[in-house]
């Protein structure tokens, strides 16, 4: 009952693409944000899959770091979002376009 590596890779790739698409199509900052999280987790999946196949510790190690970093990013990201929401009452990223040219 062992799932082949390719399956994991395919799944993670699919997730990654989904995430990417989310970033490109969604306008709600929070959703965009979640899409990015999705991408990161796709990466995690890849790491774990490879780690298992190669029996190399670095894979799991990496995942831990990614998770931590992702958490940190969440903190920062949400803080910024809140600040914006406070002043503009919106998290639609297409409304955030003062800066251009």
């Amino acid at each position: 009952m062992s799932v082949p590596l390719e399956a994991y890779l395919a799944l993670s790739a699919l997730l990654f693409v989904l995430g990417t698409t989310g970033v490109l199509v969604r306008r709600n900052a929070l959703v965009v944000f979640m899409s990015i999280e999705l991408m990161l987790n796709a990466v995690n999946l890849t790491f774990v899959a490879f780690a298992r196949q190669r029996l190399a510790i670095e894979g799991q190690l990496a995942v831990f770091f990614v998770v931590v970093v992702a958490a940190v990013e969440v903190v920062v990201g949400l803080a910024i979002l809140i600040a914006i929401f406070r002043t503009r009452d919106t998290v639609d990223i297409d409304d955030v376009d003062l800066l251009r040219g």
Binding site: L24, R27, I93, D94, R100
Partner: protein
């Protein structure tokens, strides 16, 4: 040493009058002006007496002027028989005209400037005739051109004077460009510009090269000596003060071309058909100018065309290898043409600048002496014996005949004769219109002051007796003096001249001249204003030559200049440059446009980049 002095004296005069003249009293300025030239004249006499001159020539090398690579030219002076003669004519006639100017320019505000220029001219002219090599000659050649420019435009506040000066300079430059190329050609082939070296080398040079070189030099001569096709500046040069016309545009500068050919005659003799060209140009110019003089109303312009015509004679002489005769005519012409100009000057002086002969007349009475002077000059010009002009012109025509005998073109001789006739006619015309009959406008003309009269008197004497210098009866002292210089060339012609045949040939010109004078009397008696109909119109437009130049050269050139400056330069070349700049600028705006400010576009860009890179890595 003496040679340096000759040149240095008038130069000093120029410096003093030029720098301090404005602050000096007029008397002093005049004294310096004339004194320096007089002294130069005396020095020339001294130098000419030096035995070295009669021998190999008197040389004075000052310093190395140019030395680049193996080519060197030294700044040196040189006097042999030829340049001795020239120096004497220049300083002698020059001195007389300086004296005359004291009176003529008496009440001109720019008195000092005038004398400064005049002195500078004499200095330059002396540099020209005493130059030890072709390049120094060229320096003088250009400097006299400058002085002519300065003096034609002396009254620079007159637009016409300024323009005429400029015209003179530029036309001369056109000739000089040729002259310069000639020098370059000689310098590269002979490797040296010393006259003696050139003469020596001329034998060995390829005739083709030599022909080219001499023709180029002659191009310069046509400019300086106002021959066809570059004569156009001389008539306009009459804008200048009349003494200037007398000195520069009659007696000395314009003869530089003749002197140059005499100086380099070995080259010209070795150079195939150059001399034939010279003869032809001389003959045509002589006739052409004479005919134009026939219909001019401006007294000075009549004399100007007369000068062109007479210079034609001199070149004719050179061309037919009667070089001593040419130099002889140069001398006599210096006398009588200067006289004529000075006389005309004193007429203008009396008539407050009127030169239109239709408004003159009846001056024989009030201006007896001037009239007499003009008459003497006129007869000399017409070639009536025993006046000076007769001997020299006669000799030239004889030479032309001989030349024809030896296979030259008979036309040249015929042209010479015809010119003699026309000359006589226009001289008579000028005489009549100016001095005879009733006065056109009742002014109170007064005879010129002594300071102007005296020089005229001297010149009159020379115009009368000058012929003896070349008269066979007097043993042709001048010709004999020059013989050694021309020994290898013209002397042959001079020697074995069949005496008997001479009878007719010598008589003919005299007859022609007298006929001309009679015709003149007949035509213009009691100052009739004869316009020769269609012919007259043709002549009074100078055969439409200048019209042609304007149509073919001047106007197109101006058009081209504006085309290049206003279209090619601005829209074409610079347009391209600015175009590139504008293009980059627009690109800048375009790129800014990509920066939409929408996060998602940016993300898309990143994705696009990613895909491209993946593509590159995977499907390379």
């Amino acid at each position: 040493m003496v040679l340096e002095v000759i040149v240095a004296l008038p130069l000093a005069g120029w410096l003093i009058n030029g720098l301090a003249g404005g602050r000096l009293p007029r008397g002093v300025v005049g004294a310096i002006g004339c004194g320096t030239v007089g002294a130069a004249c005396a020095a020339s006499v001294m130098a000419a007496g030096d035995p070295a001159v009669a021998g190999g020539g008197l040389t004075a090398t000052l310093f190395t002027w140019l030395s680049a690579g193996e080519f060197t030219v030294s700044a040196g002076l040189f006097m042999d028989r030829l340049s001795a003669l020239m120096a004497l004519v220049v300083t002698g006639v020059g001195f007389l005209i300086h004296v005359y100017s004291i009176g003529y320019m008496a009440d001109d505000p720019a008195y000092a400037r005038y004398f400064a220029y005049l002195n500078l001219f004499v200095a330059s002219m002396l540099l020209l005739v005493l130059g030890g090599n072709l390049l120094v000659l060229f320096v003088g050649w250009e400097l006299v051109g400058l002085c002519s420019y300065l003096l034609i435009g002396f009254w620079f506040d007159r637009e016409r004077a300024a323009s005429s000066g400029r015209k003179a300079f530029i036309v001369n430059r056109i000739g000089d460009a040729g002259f310069l190329l000639g020098i370059l050609l000689l310098a590269t082939t002979a490797g040296n510009l010393q006259f003696d070296r050139l003469a020596a080398a001329s034998g060995g040079m390829a005739p083709g090269l030599l022909t080219a070189a001499t023709l180029l030099l002659f191009a310069g001569a046509t400019g300086k000596s106002a021959q066809l096709p570059l004569y156009v500046w001389l008539p306009d040069a009459m804008e200048g003060p009349t003494p200037v016309s007398a000195l520069i545009h009659a007696a000395t500068m314009v003869t530089a071309g003749v002197y140059m050919i005499a100086r380099l005659h070995p080259l010209f003799l070795h150079a195939g058909y150059t001399l034939s060209v010279v003869a032809a140009v001389g003959a045509v110019t002589a006739f052409f100018a004479a005919t134009v003089a026939l219909v001019e109303w401006d007294l000075k312009r009549v004399l100007a065309y007369s000068t062109i015509s007479q210079l034609g004679y001199m070149f004719l002489a050179m061309g037919v290898v009667m070089m001593p005769a040419g130099m002889f005519h140069l001398t006599t012409h210096a006398f009588f043409k200067a006289l004529l100009f000075l006389a005309a000057g004193s007429v203008m002086h009396a008539m407050r600048g009127v030169v239109d002969m239709r408004r003159l007349g009846g001056l024989a009475g009030p201006m007896r002496w001037t009239a007499a002077g003009f008459a003497v000059g006129g007869l000399a010009l017409a070639g009536v014996p025993p006046f000076a002009g007769f001997f020299s012109k006669d000799l030239i025509l004889e030479g032309a005949f001989e030349w024809a005998q030896r296979g030259g073109a008979m036309l040249v001789w015929i042209a010479g004769l015809a010119t003699a006739f026309v000359t006589a006619v226009y001289v008579t015309r000028a005489m009549m219109l100016t001095f005879a009959g009733p006065a056109a406008d009742p002014g109170h003309p007064h005879e010129a002051p002594a300071v102007m009269g005296l020089p005229m008197a001297v010149l009159a004497a020379l115009s009368f007796g000058g012929g003896l210098l070349g008269a066979r009866v007097a043993g042709e002292p001048l010709l004999r003096y020059l013989e050694p210089f021309f020994v290898d060339s013209a002397i042959g012609v001079l020697k074995d001249r069949p005496m008997p045949a001479a009878g007719v040939i010598t008589a003919l010109p005299v007859a022609v001249s007298l006929a001309g004078i009679l015709a003149g009397f007949a035509l213009y008696r009691d100052r009739r204003e004869v316009t020769l109909g269609a012919l007259g119109r043709f002549l009074s437009h100078q055969w439409y030559i200048e019209t042609l130049y304007d149509a073919v050269i001047v106007t197109p050139a101006k058009r081209l200049a504006h085309l290049l400056a206003d279209v090619v330069e601005t829209r074409g070349i610079d347009g391209a440059v600015n175009g590139v700049g504008a293009l980059v600028g627009r690109a800048g705006l375009a790129v800014r446009g990509l920066q939409t400010g929408f996060v998602r576009n940016y993300a898309a860009a990143i994705l696009a980049g990613t895909i491209l890179m993946l593509g590159y890595w995977l499907f390379r």
